[in-house]
Each structure stands twice: as structure tokens, then as C-alpha cells.
């Protein structure tokens, strides 16, 4: 592993650091870093150009979080197990999430970059900032790095693995970029075929915005156009039992004049379940997967015995 000049100001060089005048082979540095995270459990590891996100909403650009940023390392993985995707019981996917594993891998990588290479690195938090907005446009970062492409359903889809949990490490390490993939994963050929026959894709069929769901859109010449997305409804499904549920019940309780009915609400199963989900937030970050369950991208990996 290369040891390079410390990028952190005022940082004392470790005694064994090899100070070199020549430019490191960044491709080799990149390969070693990415191979390391793939060994630790990431399924996808790509590097993107943060300048490609220059036009996203202010406050959610890489440079808003790390002014010295030169690369975005986008990792994906830790999707549910095949057994969980195939379970007929929704409670399974609601309670066995492992999204925090990607955060752990990302944090470890950031620490490795800072401690061993001496460049700034941060694992961008995956929870939301004020106004319930993400710290970074994760979709744009994943697309820029070629970790996947946007989908009609919403999540970034990797062409081979389909739905994966993402984490992004911003760093001042100037790694070579991978760039966006050329062929978007969505819509899949079978979805185009289904749309031609029925006017819906699997995701818009299972969760149709015109029928109480969250999704709508058209496919024209193999591309998604006119995407419709009810973010509030989707949020209330993804966080079926979590902070929004807590707020909703409390609202009803506070406006309920009858003390016994208030008790029925507070002691009832929905509020109780919501509290459990808050308590075990790490496995409850995602309580609706129905659009992804029917998505064909990566589905061939779910054909196990």
C-alpha cells in the first residue's frame, strides 16, 4: 500500500511513512481500496466525479460537505437475502434490514483513507438533514460513479445486482473516475414488453399512483418518461412504523377528547409497533419493498433453491 504525503494540515508524518516525490499510481491506490471493501462485503464499488453533481440542489453537493473533495467512492451492497425477498410475510423485510452494514464499511474505508493515506475522507450520513432532506443526492452520486442508474420505482438499480443499499465516501484523494454506465438498468426489457402490452411495468402495476399507490410513468423508445411519484405516500410506506407513524398517532391522540380512546390509541398495536421500529431503527430503515420485490433487475440472482 502506498503511503503518500499527508493531506491533512499540521498532521505529523508517521515514522514509517514513505515520503515520495513522484505522483502515486492512483489507479493502484484505487484498486487496493476498492478490492478491500469488496472483500469486506460491498457488492459494488465505483468512483465518481463530484463535479458531475454541480447542478444538484445547493447544500446537497459533494463540495457543500467537503470543500476539498476530489472523488466520490460509491459503495453498494447488503441487499436483503433471497429468502427474505421471497418470503410471503411482509414483516420479514420490515424487520431484518442491514443497511447499516454499508455505513460501517463506508466508515471503515474513510478511516483507512485518512489514517493510512493522509487524505480527507468522510462517510456521508445516510440519515436525513433538516427538512428531511438527505445530506447528499445519493442517486446522483451513484449515477455519476456508475454504481447504477435511476429507476422508475425510485431506487438506484445496479445492472447486475439490482437494488442495493448505498453509501458514499467523499475524499480529497484524487482517484480515477469510473463514470456513469452507458446502458441504464431501468427499464428492463421485460418491463418494456409489459408496458407495450398493458401500459404498466411491474412496479407501476403493484403500486399504481392512480390506484392509491406511489408510482406512475411511461416508457417510450425504451426510456422512462413522465415519471410520477408520490413521495409522501411512499415515505409513509417505507416508514410504515417509524417516526412519521409516531407523529401521526400523537396527532390523533392530541386531538382526541375522550381519555379512553386516547388510551386505546397509545397502547394499541400500531403505536407499539412504531416504538419498536424506532428502537430497532437499524433494521427498520425500509419497510416497503414491494416495487423492488417485483423488479426484474437482478432478479436472476434470486433464483435459489
Amino acid at each position: 500500500m502506498f503511503r503518500v504525503h499527508a493531506g491533512l494540515p499540521g498532521r505529523a508524518l508517521p515514522e514509517e511513512a514513505e515520503v515520495t516525490e513522484e505522483e502515486p499510481d492512483w489507479q493502484t491506490v484505487k484498486s487496493e481500496l476498492l478490492e478491500g471493501v469488496l472483500k469486506r462485503g460491498a457488492m459494488v464499488a465505483r468512483v465518481g466525479d463530484p463535479d458531475l453533481l454541480a447542478d444538484v440542489a445547493p447544500g446537497q453537493r459533494p463540495s457543500d460537505l467537503l470543500p476539498q473533495v476530489k472523488s466520490m467512492i460509491v459503495l453498494g451492497g447488503s441487499a436483503p437475502r433471497v429468502g427474505e425477498w421471497n418470503s410471503p410475510r411482509a414483516e420479514v423485510l420490515e424487520t431484518v434490514g442491514t443497511s447499516d452494514r454499508m455505513a460501517a464499511i463506508g466508515s471503515a474505508l474513510a478511516r483507512q483513507i485518512e489514517e493510512r493515506l493522509g487524505y480527507y475522507a468522510m462517510n456521508v450520513p445516510t440519515s436525513t438533514d433538516q427538512d428531511d432532506k438527505p445530506f447528499l443526492d445519493f442517486t446522483a452520486a451513484a449515477v455519476a460513479a456508475g454504481a447504477g442508474s435511476p429507476s422508475l420505482a425510485g431506487p438506484v438499480l445496479h445492472p447486475e445486482h439490482g437494488f442495493v443499499y448505498l453509501t458514499v465516501i467523499l475524499t480529497s484523494l484524487p482517484l480515477p473516475f469510473d463514470g456513469p454506465i452507458e446502458q441504464p438498468a431501468c427499464p428492463a426489457p421485460s418491463c418494456v414488453e409489459m408496458y407495450d402490452q398493458r401500459g404498466v411495468t411491474p412496479c407501476t402495476d403493484v403500486c399504481n399512483i392512480d390506484d392509491g399507490g406511489c408510482l406512475g410513468g411511461q416508457i417510450q423508445d425504451g426510456l422512462v418518461i413522465g415519471r410520477r411519484y408520490d413521495a409522501n405516500r411512499c415515505r409513509d410506506r417505507v416508514y410504515h412504523y417509524w417516526v412519521p407513524g409516531y407523529q401521526a398517532v400523537l396527532e390523533k391522540v392530541l386531538s382526541e377528547p375522550d381519555v379512553e380512546r386516547r388510551k386505546m390509541m397509545l397502547y394499541g398495536s400500531y403505536f407499539t409497533r412504531t416504538m419498536w421500529s424506532i428502537t430497532y431503527s437499524n433494521v427498520s430503515q425500509g419497510q416497503c419493498f414491494e416495487c423492488m420485490r417485483v423488479c426484474p433487475v437482478g432478479a436472476e440472482n434470486r433464483m435459489l433453491k
Partner: protein, 140 residues
């Protein structure tokens, strides 16, 4: 004291009656449903006795004629001819309602006393009479 499935276990092929006017779709079962307080008061005792709140003879080593299990919400609903959502709410509300908030303070005092007793004398302190002599000091 706590009624259970008669005979120890409901028969494996017992039919849980379905009513076309009762919701069975999962979304309806797991949504926000508020049970009527009067219904709760009326059925609370029976639902609690049939549920897992008070666990009687569930040890796997007990003979089949003695071992029991609690009833599911669906079984309770069929038994009491109630909407399964109401049964779930009655059961869950009753779980919280079994003891008032003061019980939590009493629980803390219980634990203080129990831990203190063990620290001072181990299991010997649990005897009302004289504890038996032990060849192994570590056994007490």
C-alpha cells in the same frame, strides 16, 4: 385460573371461521385501528386469559395432556366471534394496561432489593428456614 385451548392444543386442522365482512388483507390487519373502549372493557379479561400474557404449562417437557399454548389472535377472534383487528387491539392494549406506571417504580425497588440481597448473602438469603449445608461454597 387462566383458560387455555381446551385439551391442551387446538386441533391442527381446526377451522378458523372466515367472515366475508372481516378484513383479512394484510394492509388492513396491520394498519391503524382503534378498538372501541367499551368493547375493550367487555372482552379484555377473556382475551387476556386466552393470550400469552400469563403463560401456563408451556414447558416442552410436560406431557401433551398438560402442556398448553396460548391462542392466536385469529383463534381468539373465532372463539369470541370478534373482528380479528379488535382482538389484536384488545390484546395489545391489555398488555400495556395490565400494570400502571407505578409498577415500573415498584419494579426498580424490587431489583434493588433482590440484587442487594444476593450481594450480601447469595442464595442463602432466599431461605425462610435454614439453608442446607453445602460442601461447595460456590454452590450457595
Amino acid at each position: 385460573m387462566y383458560a387455555r385451548v381446551p385439551g391442551g392444543r387446538r386441533e391442527q386442522d381446526a377451522e378458523v371461521t372466515e367472515h366475508h365482512d372481516r378484513p383479512t388483507a394484510r394492509g388492513e390487519l396491520s394498519g391503524f385501528h382503534v378498538v372501541d373502549p367499551d368493547l375493550y372493557r367487555e372482552y379484555r379479561g377473556r382475551v387476556v386469559r386466552m393470550s400469552n400474557s400469563h403463560q401456563v404449562n408451556i414447558n416442552e417437557f410436560l406431557p401433551d395432556t398438560v402442556r398448553q399454548r396460548a391462542m392466536t389472535d385469529a383463534e381468539i377472534a373465532a372463539e369470541l366471534n370478534l373482528d380479528i383487528r379488535d382482538v389484536t387491539e384488545i390484546r395489545v392494549v391489555a398488555e400495556h394496561d395490565e400494570y400502571p406506571i407505578e409498577e415500573y417504580e415498584a419494579s426498580a425497588r424490587f431489583k434493588d432489593a433482590a440484587a442487594e440481597s444476593y450481594r450480601n448473602g447469595g442464595v442463602k438469603n432466599l431461605y425462610k428456614g435454614d439453608p442446607p449445608p453445602s460442601r461447595n461454597p460456590a454452590e450457595i
